[in-house]
Symmetry: C2
Subunit: 243 residues, 2 copies
Amino acid sequence: MQLQVDVIASIGEARAVDLNQHTVIVIDVLRATSTIITALANGAASVLPVETVGQARQQYAEGDVLGGERFCKKIAGFDLGNSPHEYTSSWCLNKRIVLTTSNGTRAIQKAVRAEHVLAGAFLNASACARLALSLRRNVALLCTGTQDAFAFEDALCAGMILHEMMSDHRAGTIVTNDLGMLALSAYKQHKGHIHDAVRQCSSGKRLLKLGFSDDVEYCSLTNQVHLVPTLHEHLLIPHRESS
Amino acid sequence: MQLQVDVIASIGEARAVDLNQHTVIVIDVLRATSTIITALANGAASVLPVETVGQARQQYAEGDVLGGERFCKKIAGFDLGNSPHEYTSSWCLNKRIVLTTSNGTRAIQKAVRAEHVLAGAFLNASACARLALSLRRNVALLCTGTQDAFAFEDALCAGMILHEMMSDHRAGTIVTNDLGMLALSAYKQHKGHIHDAVRQCSSGKRLLKLGFSDDVEYCSLTNQVHLVPTLHEHLLIPHRESS
């Protein structure tokens, strides 16, 4: 079996690429996909990703948790912001989370026509790689970036997922594109020191400046969570590996 | 002194960036900038980069050498193709070369409004870094890519030039963008094994398939040449370091 596993630089680039028939792994390390993974790991029933604040308010129903950010900060009137630390089990257990973020939830919407849509981050990179392999489709690793600009931490995470896929004994030949080669090389260079690298990129520096150093540290942890958020009927629900 | 040294992914991305006041280093490792460097090192007086085949024929004057490629192959009626091996001193000495290639010469045209325009490749990476530092302007490392797609080998070379700049004892603080961080990491990972990496990227594989393995090997050599092609009045002329 040969799988094509390409890395896409930003949401803007994704528009030009045909994602039908693909497994798309949306990556927004700082912080949307890290937050979604954490919410589901802490017992949320599902996450509904929406693009705008208006849509979030409209979709909200009693019993839901309303979360999200603009300019990295909690939206007025919302229950929670976009910090994974806020998504504790006391907030999340059995709840539907309605979430809107500047980039990550928009990226999920762009991928909606794909065969499978997964949410990936360092926290669940290995589980993502295993699930993507088992789905037997070509893969697009969609780096969300920031306002259509390329983000280092997302590419580094794409490199990690690619590395985990290539290291899996079940994988046949895995072929990647040029950005995938670059991301994989960078991951190999920073393996074991992800946090140091993420602190230095533009999103990392911005979050540190705003006082979110705990988030930057937590989102740099690898393979803490063994579930993968997967999109079904517009809802992200947890896919857990059967052992 | 703080210098901003950003890596730009492709010609398409360059359009959106203000390059005025910058030193732009155009990089097309396979093969335009490697060929231009080689032609000047072998005694060419200058290289005139033009976008189209028609412009090349129009600009050609008696005594010039007409060179270029489309689809990696020599253009009908031209003296030379785009293989650096063709640009020997017997062809080049004291000649003006009129050159058109699919991507590299177009990238040079895009950069024409910059304060300084240099042509970089692995062959002259260190000389490029020294010259860019001495010019004391913010730097854009413009990866040419292929048909507006990102090219691994150009980013790897950008990473090398960035590394050489940061290693220079004269450099103050050098700040880079997220793609620069990724390119630098990838370069550190492949340092000493550039040829192995370049063979595996898409342009490398295409050239190998077309029988240009000598070109791929030669263009992967680092710091063989101590001159930098610099743009003056639409002509690239050699800048040699005074010792």
